[in-house]
Amino acid sequence: MFVDLLQNIMLGTNIVFTIEGILAITIGVIVGTIGGAIPGINASMTMAILLPFTWGMDPIIAILMYVGIYCGGQYGGSIPSILIGTPGTPSSAATVLDGYPLHLKGKTGLALGMSLYASVTGGLISSVVLMILAIPLAGVALAFGPPEYFALAVVGLTLIASLSADIFKGLIAASIGLLLATVGLDPFSGIVRFGFGTEQLIQGFELIPFYMGIFALSQVLYSVYKKIERVAVDYSVSSRYPSFADYKGCFLAMLIGSIIGVFVGVMPGAGASIACWIGYNEARRWSKHPKDFGNGALEGVAAPEAANNAVTGGAMVPMLSLGIPGSGSTAIMLGVLIIHGLRPGPMLFVTNPDVPYSIFVSLFVANIVMIFIGLAFIRLLAKVVNIPESIMNACILAIIFVGAFSVNNSIFDVFAVLLFGVLGLILKVHDYPVSATALGFVLGYLVETNFRRSLTVAKGNWMIFFQNPISLVLICIAIISVIYSIYSNYFKGRKESV
């Protein structure tokens, strides 16, 4: 067992430590950091925009690049949080509280440096946890049958829906994704469903145009709709970087942030935007100087940044071991694997051990690469914040359209991107969780096939979902999460939007 594990880790190491592997991770970290540093662009959007570029890539190299983007995107978000007091991504919102005051005090280098070190620390801890949790969890999941898988996917969807500001909106968003996934050939009978006589809909909607529209195009349209005037940024990083003593002083905050980040990451739907706030609050509670928080405390930068980067490893646990992504970013990573003919889940550890083990190693390497990229380009990355939004949006739209066209050389895919972009905009404007729609779409096939397989095995007896203890527990969790959300949304006063 231990020898197998070591062999598989060596297999992953051999793949990652090649020129292509290191290059893919480095490019991913650079692109992710730039994406995160531009306000309004997050890791999911960067990943969605780059999907067409992975088309001709080796699937493992593509996923290594995406691991780099994921890590870089989480870190990059802290740059505008510190420089302009506007988070680059929702997961860096808590960093503003102390990062921006540090910048105003002239300690920009200290804040940016600590954010980098904390991100790396959180990422490294999460990469170890990913390996510890994912492998045994995948072993357990190997025994899962169709009812358990159906129940698991339902739990994932209901949890992500119930964690949104409004449970009804969350459920509608997830259901729209599920409904869109039913378009095209039925896997059991071969009939074309909801084709409406259109030849292009026979195979259903493609993942790439869907992701590009729902994550990237909708975000561009939304940023135009909710235009926030940006201030000109003084991007001179004049002060010193953190010393070892500074790092040591913030270590407890980083550790707290990392543990919370990993834990929150594993939970479907929670994500980095929640982890950063919990990490910040807990670090303040455990700090020796809680009164400094909010006025430029270095720990106030370290904790949320460690938390949001620690989410990366945590979020990959259910994606890799169960095939159930817990966030928009991991849903896209799952999509990358599906596009290349791989189905994440416990069987991946058996059939393609090179994929999960190279992801484990790459997460570790991506965080190391991030130190060098961060330190080398910190001044340059700070300038990215100043690119005019109008130019940025226009260029992103051009990439999206040409990227969507390049998938199948089809104008229909470009129309699909526009359609999903408008759908995503409507959802965002009305506070529906877009990530729930994305999850519904990517899990649609899994949910339906396992639902129907279960009923086929049980000869139509719907009690099969309640007779099996694992699926019974999972379905109970799903029902309780929905009922509790309805109670807390409408009877206990509305929850704050997350």
Partner: protein, 169 residues
Amino acid sequence: MATKKLLGRVVLNLAWIIIATVFYWVAIPYASVRTFDPVGPHVFPQIVSVIIIVCAVGNLFIVFLSTKKDKSLVIDIKEAQQTESTDFRNLMKVVLIIIVSGIYIVILNWIGYLFSTILLIFFLVLIQGGTKLNKNLMISCGFSLFLYIVFSRILNILLPEGLLGFIFT
């Protein structure tokens, strides 16, 4: 403003109900092609449609309750008008971007990738404002060419050459 938002919510939830009903209705005939599985291709989309309808009705009920509660809502008219005009301006920009994008998709095959993309970027920057015309033109041409080189030459993807394809051949 508040009334408009509520109206928007009502319209959106009615739209969900209509869309879900259409999907439910269209799925009914699929029952006839049921093979070995006891469920058939119609049941799953119908269950999902029912969930959407139930949730949308729930949302409408909440909207109804909130209108009853918020009758005493006091709105700063000046601030509301200002926000409304900004929202409207931005909404118009979004609509124009969608229209320009739609036109781009239609003409992409006809006039070819390079020139349609130059026009796309130029008009998208123009709609959003904030950049001088000559700078805009330079960015449009430069970025379109950059994308052309990346996709066509490096990634070997066939991009539509259209009417002006002879330039590249």
